[in-house]
């Protein structure tokens, strides 16, 4: 009885510190081959239990505009399901290039529809798993809370207006459409500065270098209200909706955590978080 307990203890030590304890244990086990078989068996079952398991892991590539809600969602998801989600943030273009070149992502949450579509078309994503997980809302924002972003734009009181590069970011395309709609394309052109993504665009405005600029509402909103400065939530009829699609990647066909995550994104819980961060077309009080 006592002997058995010490053996179990040593096995557990060996599992935790295979190099240090391994030698002594092997020596002992070699003397008693019967016991060795038992130990090996229990080791194997232990390992397979953790593998076939209830809890799985997934690595998710997320467009940077969705950083804050994704973190909240992942924390809730892990608590609710026991699965583990690791988030990786960046621009959709860079992530697409990484996926094409073999990056180990299980799910891709893009800032647009075109890139997940392309992956599906090229056979790198699982057909039929693509869906729109968020509808981006555009806001004109100034870091100065004492003024109105809309008035600054309409009264032409700015030296620089920041937008995301329309070649790279869907929010940049939407910003151009808004300027076009307001008939301000020409007058804003020489004063336009471009961020390579929506995060950098926010930085230009937050640092005061651009008086106003177009950002994702999610960047300046938390719990349903504007966190700092002043924002004009652009009426949805001024631009084409920014549809952000997610897709399951080929390597994750068998990954329970990845499929559960995609389902979770479409749940009621997710809808609540999305609203708090200003995604979707619904009335918001600034």
């Amino acid at each position: 009885m006592g002997k058995k307990e010490t053996l179990i203890k040593k096995v557990s030590v060996a599992v935790r510190h295979p190099l240090s304890a391994g030698k002594r244990l092997t020596k002992r086990l070699l003397k008693k081959p019967g016991r060795a078989a038992v130990v090996l068996f229990s080791l194997c079952t232990g390992l397979s239990l953790s593998h076939a398991g209830i809890a799985a892991e997934a690595l998710v590539a997320v467009a940077s505009n969705f950083t804050a809600p994704a973190k909240d969602l992942a924390a809730m998801f892990e608590k609710d399901t026991g699965h583990k989600i690791t988030l990786s943030f960046g621009s959709s273009g860079k992530m697409l290039a990484q996926i094409v070149n073999g990056a180990p992502y299980d799910v891709f949450m893009s800032a647009d529809q075109a890139k997940p579509e392309k992956l599906e078309h090229d056979g790198l994503a699982v057909k039929g798993t693509r869906f729109t997980y968020a509808l981006g809302t555009l806001a004109l924002w100034t870091a100065d809370s004492g003024s109105s972003a809309e008035a600054i734009l309409r009264n032409d009181q700015y030296q620089h207006i920041a937008i995301a590069n329309p070649r790279l970011a869907p929010y940049g395309v939407a910003a151009e459409q808004v300027l076009e709609h307001l008939d301000l394309t020409g007058s804003s052109q020489p004063r336009r500065v471009m961020g390579e993504n929506i995060t950098q665009t926010w930085q230009f405005i937050a640092s005061g270098n651009a008086e106003i600029g177009f950002v994702a509402l999610s960047q300046v909103m938390k719990d349903g209200s504007i966190t700092s400065g002043n924002a004009w939530i652009i009426p949805p009829e001024y631009y084409q909706p920014v549809k952000q699609d997610a897709v399951l990647l080929k390597r994750a066909v068998q990954n329970d955590a990845a499929t559960a995550w995609l389902a979770y994104l479409q749940s009621e819980n997710a809808a609540v978080i999305l609203q708090r961060y200003g995604y979707g077309n619904f009335p918001v009080t600034p």
Partner: protein, 230 residues
């Protein structure tokens, strides 16, 4: 090989930036290097460390703090505004200032090494022959330390051509103003126009290789006693 108008404008802008920055740096770095190589002051260590800082800081970090410092609420920004110059981010002048800071160690260090290797003796000999300090610098020190100055100029130039993180942070991607080659390549890659990215990158590699090859070729010839060059 096809280069668009915006590619050509980025190339031209980059060459303009690098040339201007190199010229400014040669003027700024020479007195610093001279002081560092001659002075007995205990502050030389501090100054050397400050000069070398841009080597250690990630360019995007440096660029981010320049964006804040040069912005309307930053100390540099308030200074330039009080002079009636406005703020520096999103302007060509801003890129020049940032690049001078960013490439400073690449110009100071080769000149400093050359001057240290030269020692005080040539200057002292010139003084005994009646040369003033300025005369002696331009007619004795400078010609003798020429290889160091050439290395410094080439490194400063090529390093500025290759600059990316700082420009991305403070540039704002404005055509003919702040959109340099590296930013243009990055745009092509991000927009999945790999073909155009390959063309521009290939040109950049070829250019850098030729310049560096010329530099090291000259150095080799000089070492073998090929006589004075330049």
């Amino acid at each position: 090989m096809h280069l668009s108008d915006s590619d050509l404008s980025a190339i031209w802008l980059t060459l303009k930036l690098a040339t201007l920055v190199t010229l400014i740096l040669l003027v700024v770095a020479t007195p610093i290097a001279l002081w560092l190589s001659r002075s007995q002051s205990r502050f030389t260590g501090v100054v050397s460390a400050v000069v070398a800082l841009p080597l250690v800081l990630p360019p995007s970090v440096l660029g981010f703090y320049l964006l804040i410092a040069m912005g309307p609420n930053g100390p540099l920004g308030q200074f330039t505004q009080s002079l009636g110059l406005g703020t520096l981010p999103f302007t060509f002048t801003g890129l020049v200032v940032a690049s001078v800071i960013y490439s400073l160690p690449f110009v100071v260090q080769p000149i400093q090494n050359a001057l240290t290797a030269l020692g005080k003796r040539p200057g002292e000999v010139a003084a005994t022959l009646g040369a003033g300090p300025i005369d002696s610098f331009f007619h004795v020190t400078l010609p003798l330390a020429k290889p160091g100055f050439l290395t410094a100029a080439v490194l400063g130039f090529t390093h500025t051509v290759g600059e990316f993180g700082v420009v991305l942070m403070i540039g704002g991607n404005i055509p003919d103003q702040t959109r340099v080659i590296s930013v243009q390549i990055y745009d092509h890659v991000e927009a999945l126009n790999y073909g155009q990215a390959h063309t521009l990158s290939g040109l950049m590699v070829a250019f850098a290789f030729i310049v560096l090859l010329a530099l090291y070729g000259l150095r080799r010839r000089n070492k073998q006693g090929g006589g004075s060059w330049l």
